[in-house]
Symmetry: C2
Subunit: 112 residues, 2 copies
């Protein structure tokens, strides 16, 4: 069954937890976000993405390696987008790069 | 400045990315979720939590060590809650346990 949970391989792989608190002015933010998701998904080593919003905005992206993440952060368009975010859209953010050591899952339609 | 971004120490520390797709019947789910957040926050090694919802529900929790996470997963009330979730509230989920290797942050009120 399709689920919006990212399909990732057996560990080890990498996750980037990008946690954002927005500033007040979000003009152009959604378009930039969509563009960055599209661009990220075209990068070497990209595995998938999950997204949610609450008190913070969470973008969880999965990658084959730490090096793939470094290359994506060095991508020119991504660098420009982050600079614009600091200037306009972000009150605060934190980025955490982590190596997935183990995972497990449940899927009702498989287990029944 | 206070932000809802979890306050975590210098890496290394651990993150659990818990990604859920809900089933249709969510009776009792919110109460159980609140209870589990409260209980998790009282566990040894708990560092913080971030939450968001979109196509999936994301609960991101931070921990001092892999062992602290194992102990929380073995906690009797947590085990019962997960069993109830599989029975009633979850269509699918994935849990990923990852070691945070590096992080960085931005805070407008600090940088200005």
């Amino acid at each position: 069954m399709y689920t919006p949970i990212a399909q990732t391989p057996e560990p080890p792989y990498y996750v980037v937890v990008f946690t954002i608190v927005h500033a007040e002015n979000l003009d152009g933010y959604e378009q930039m976000g969509e563009k960055m998701v599209q661009l990220a998904s075209e990068q070497p080593g990209f595995l998938g993405l999950e997204y949610g919003i609450g008190d913070v905005e969470l973008t969880i992206s999965y990658w084959e390696s730490s090096e793939a993440i470094r290359q994506w952060y060095a991508h020119a368009e991504h660098t420009i987008a982050r600079d614009m975010g600091r200037e306009k859209w972000f009150q605060a953010f934190k980025v955490r790069v982590a190596r997935v050591e183990r995972d497990y899952e449940f899927n009702r339609s498989v287990s029944e």
